[in-house]
Symmetry: C2
Subunit: 347 residues, 2 copies
DNA sequence: TTGAAAGCGCTAACAA
DNA sequence: TTGTTAGCGCTTTCAA
């Protein structure tokens, strides 16, 4: 009942191999026979069997997406649909399919990746996260399996790894400098998960800007939290309980910023009058906060698009050099930052 | 270099078919030989070739996810990561993989689905959206290919289709009644894309509640918009320009509500003092609006989980009856609704 | 330019 | 309980 290459061959009066060549659009087949075969295919409603192709071919034309473990709330960040949209866009262009990891824990994900790779389910992999000491990355590297990372490997020496990243250090530095120029000196930093590479980069940029400006970084102005929303809120409580409250906040992620702003709202601390905020990512909804937030657009779509691009290049030309792509970022000024107005009395 | 079943067979001193049976954990193989074979597999680092299996098997153990076209902003709704998490969870349990559609337009998606189905890339499909007159759904139905829909088919007569949905009509009705009980009479409705089934159900529920309460539904209190964020904001402008402003708003989607609240904020209309709002979905960030929004939790995770469950059941027992699963919803009261206080003067 | 035939790695009848 | 063998549907040498 399934239409195969043989059926087509019979109808078109050619050999199966000829049909195969027509599918691949081989130049060694004459136009007339191509036409004949194509008509037969249309007539029978032929579609090539994907598994048979892959088996004979040793190529699946699909790329595997490895997400952070989905038990984690990170997963719900609108960041992901948007990177996937980027990846998807490039993949579609080049006729690659997408296969998703489903593991909930690190171990499950690791096992899955192993199956994908050894079971020849995918031709390459995009890691949608980058964290410190990642088993999956080490495995892929040892296997010399094509993969690209969104973000960057923790170890700067891994020059053999292809990744697509923003200059997060620079972005954080600029943002801090911006706040300093607005007159802020008491600038706090609310970071994400500490074993995420991006968090570390943000913090370095933040500290660098402070030091350059002659401001001593303070331990109690730096808070990290795993969970996106709750984390943001707890951090605010901690910071606002300090005797010297910060006058500006740098927040690692737009979603966290929503939590932060909500908490400040409850405390009746006005943004930006009482406190300024800058955050990172510029996900779709970030312009919908009240007031709309100032944030760094990291071009999430491009991160995905380029990651797919690099990966497919790697797959098609195995010899090529590893690449490190930096996607430009851009600060989007909205309404959560304001020049510091010195108060006469302490708060 | 690839380790095959034959290599394992050789090392374990058995026939390839025996190895195959051990992989399938057939009960017709003795424990001792199973052990022997498993050791050989471990020793060689054997992983079954996925494509070869599928080809011989006529089963891929993967399910296809069809998203709404990703050109559309809908895609960025945190709704999707969450349904996928639900699907993923069940799929993983039952050892199914996930394959993603990448098409950007309706036609592209349709072509892809056809390839997935006829090319035997997946064993079944979950449609992550449900809209009026969907070609993809018709195709799947004609092919008698296993699929489930999140939401429901437009045509109520399609009793042969398995779907997982909320009682959206009821939810909208309840929410409207709630606002009426709070004293509101001028209740507006901001709906999503009009050819989405859920929008229609919401509107019916809304109108029913009004009619039951003896309130005449007004055309100018009902606005639809395609785009999630911008739409929300435009709708607010329209509604607030009416000579009789509504005192309460029912908004189809949490993300839209963010846009609505931002716009109201700009207009210095206070929520909930000047206007009450209820919305739908309860995505993760919905509790992070300022003030936190009252919304209907539709249990997105369960929608996905059950969809996968039904689908896999359909795949495994082809004879079973189509099922219609309704996931319970629950109104989450937060701080955007308030009893109407009659004003002495007009606004 | 086309055809014949071997083989990709696995499963599943059928035999033993 | 295990082995033998014929495919699954395609690609790709090799020959013509």
């Amino acid at each position: 009942m399934t239409v195969t290459i043989k059926d087509v061959a019979k109808i078109a009066n050619v050999a199966p191999s000829t049909v195969s060549r027509v599918i691949a659009n081989s130049p060694r087949i004459s136009e007339p026979t191509k036409e004949k075969v194509r008509e037969a295919m249309k007539e029978l409603g032929y579609h090539p069997n994907f598994n048979a192709r892959s088996l004979a071919n040793k190529s699946t034309k699909t790329i595997g997406l490895v997400m952070p473990n989905s038990a984690n709330k990170t997963f719900q960040n609108p960041f992901f649909p948007e990177v996937i949209r980027g990846i998807s866009s490039k993949a579609h262009q080049l006729e690659y399919g997408l296969y998703l990891s489903t593991g909930q824990s690190e171990q499950e994900i690791f096992d899955e990746v192993q199956d994908m790779v050894q079971g020849k389910r995918v031709d390459g992999i995009v890691l949608l996260y980058s964290k410190v000491n990642d088993k999956v990355m080490d495995y892929l590297r040892n296997q010399k399996f094509p993969f690209t990372v969104i973000g960057r490997p923790y170890d700067e020496n891994m020059k053999d790894i292809t990744y697509v990243n923003n200059d997060n250090l620079k972005a954080a530095k600029t943002v801090t400098e911006y706040l300093i120029l607005l007159g802020h000196q008491q600038i706090a930093f609310i970071g994400g998960n500490l074993d995420t590479v991006v968090t570390l980069d943000h913090m370095k940029g933040y500290e660098k800007a402070l030091t350059n400006a002659g401001i001593e970084p303070r331990k109690d102005y730096v808070v990290f939290h795993e969970e996106l929303q709750e984390g943001g809120q707890e951090a605010v409580i901690d910071l606002m309980s300090l005797s010297e409250r910060p006058t500006a906040l740098i927040v690692a992620d737009d979603i966290m910023t929503f939590g932060v702003m909500r908490m400040l709202n409850e405390m009746e601390v006005k943004v930006p009058d009482d406190i300024s905020i800058v955050s990172f990512n510029n996900v779709m909804i970030s312009e919908l906060s009240s007031p709309p937030m100032t944030t760094v657009d990291i071009n999430i779509f491009s991160l995905g698009y380029e990651a797919a691009n690099c990966l497919i290049e790697k797959i098609m030309k195995p010899g090529t050099e590893p690449r490190q792509v930096i996607i430009p970022h851009k600060m989007i000024k909205r309404q959560t930052c304001q020049r510091l107005v010195r108060r006469l009395s302490a708060q």
